[in-house]
């Protein structure tokens, strides 16, 4: 289990504490990025067989698959950085809720299609900027993941954009529901750009991207879509957040229970 190692002194004669702390910071950064992608992928998977049309089932499944692929490489990398022998499956299936570091935006139920599209618009605009910047990370694996993901995310963003335009600038009813969905999701936007949890050294060393620096370019992708969709930029107070510190909404627990139960009930099962 991941417990903050810096809360207790490193064991005598153990690894160099400076290196240990640096890899702990990098581990936490990579895990947070991985968890955003993993939990979003799991929510996307919920839509399979429930989309408004067959093509939409396929689209959301594919978007989830891209995110899952990103998450897998990131989790495997986090395991290597940690150096404690945990692999991608250990990190995905055997961590408890408090050890997940994803933002609240991606973890909540999205069984309303408008909510799913509003969220995908915000999340993929952020993802597009994050991965574009991470391509020049000094961490070669992060740069490699980003180089692939940036092209995939362009398709996600475009998909969300098309639906937000269609629903926002559609009928009176579709406009009302798209606006309501946007109002709900907008509260969770700020947490994406919170930089308080990223160790400053990681940013200085060019490993991590300062999340705060992504706000302006990400919004520059979102705002023209809202304008064209005749939607109003919500004026709402940001939600409390806390995902980066392992504090989550009740809904994440249910998601993890479903995602993890097979591995936990049948440890080591293969097929």
């Amino acid at each position: 289990m991941i417990t903050p190692r810096d809360s207790s002194p490193p064991p005598r004669g153990g690894p160099d504490p400076t290196t240990d702390l640096a890899s702990q910071h990098r581990f936490e950064y990579v895990v947070a990025l991985a968890d955003d992608a993993l939990i979003s992928a799991q929510r996307m998977g919920w839509w399979i067989s429930r989309g408004p049309q067959l093509e939409e089932d396929v689209a959301l499944a594919n978007i989830g698959l891209d995110q899952l692929g990103q998450a897998r490489t990131l989790l495997a990398h986090a395991g290597e950085v940690e150096g404690a022998g945990r692999g991608e499956d250990d990190l995905a299936y055997l961590r408890d809720e408090r050890d997940f570091r994803n933002v609240h935006l991606v973890e909540r139920d999205q069984s309303d299609f408008g909510v799913a599209m509003a969220r995908l618009l915000l999340f993929s605009a952020y993802h597009a900027e994050l991965y574009a910047a991470l391509r020049s990370s000094t961490d070669q694996t992060l740069a490699g993941v980003a180089g692939k993901a940036v092209k995939e995310v362009a398709y996600h963003l475009d998909h969300a954009r098309q639906w937000v335009l269609r629903l926002g600038d559609g009928t009176e009813e579709s406009h009302r529901r798209m606006q309501a969905a946007l109002d709900t999701e907008w509260r969770y936007l700020d947490e994406l750009f919170d930089d308080s949890w990223v160790a400053p050294e990681l940013i200085d060393e060019g490993v991590a991207v300062d999340p705060a620096s992504l706000r302006e370019p990400a919004l520059a992708r979102v705002l023209p879509v809202l304008r064209e969709a005749t939607l109003t930029v919500p004026e709402v107070l940001p939600a409390v957040g806390g995902g980066r510190r392992g504090l989550h909404t009740e809904q994440l627990g249910y998601l993890l229970a479903e995602m993890q139960h097979l591995t936990r009930s049948h440890p080591g099962a293969t097929w």
Binding site: A59, T73, A132, A143, G144, G147, K151, Y155
Partner: protein, 178 residues
């Protein structure tokens, strides 16, 4: 073995060089499990094959999309095919960088896809996370008509989109440009 100019250019572009070893030729014969008419070399997934004097083979392949579920099958196929060809030990490594692009698909690969009923990707436009470039026309692989429309940007696998031909009314897959 003949490598098309496009494939050569792609390999040079990616900074990969490989000797035309027997191991390379064996690895290059492995078919893509989801599009079993094209080889992994046709698709540009096969990046490098090296062989040491102990007969050990190291193969590098790159996924098309991050979540491509075919990668594990391709790894198994490579191991089995090379083992059957007499190589004692085979390592298959996934490399992410440089990121795969449909530009690495060979001319033969494109022709085989068309014959199989999948419209091949257009020349690449570097999206850089920006807007998806409009595809002006995707030619119907059945009747050749350019009068086609996209019915869904996401298809049966991560790398394909769904199209319908307005001329012959047949639906078809298009290998997305990436």
């Amino acid at each position: 073995m003949v490598i098309s100019r496009r494939a050569q250019g792609a390999l040079l572009h990616a900074g990969t060089t490989h000797a035309h070893t027997r191991a390379y030729d064996v690895a290059a014969s492995v078919l893509d499990p989801e599009l079993p008419v094209v080889t992994i070399e046709d698709l540009g997934i096969l990046r490098d094959v090296t062989e040491d004097d102990q007969g050990r083979v190291h193969v590098q392949i790159t996924p098309t999309y991050s979540g491509c579920p075919a990668m594990e099958t391709i790894r198994t196929e490579l191991e089995q095919t090379l083992t059957a060809a007499g190589y004692q030990r085979v390592d298959v490594e996934f490399v992410l960088s440089p990121a795969w692009t449909t530009d690495w698909m060979s001319d033969e690969g494109r022709a085989k896809l068309t014959a199989y009923g999948v419209a091949p990707p257009a020349a690449r436009a570097d999206t850089d996370g920006g807007p998806i470039p409009l595809t002006l026309s995707v030619r119907c692989p059945q009747c050749g008509s350019p009068d086609t429309r996209e019915s869904s940007r996401f298809g049966s696998t991560a790398c394909k989109s769904l199209w319908v031909c307005q001329a012959c009314r047949e639906p078809f897959d298009h290998f997305k440009t990436l």
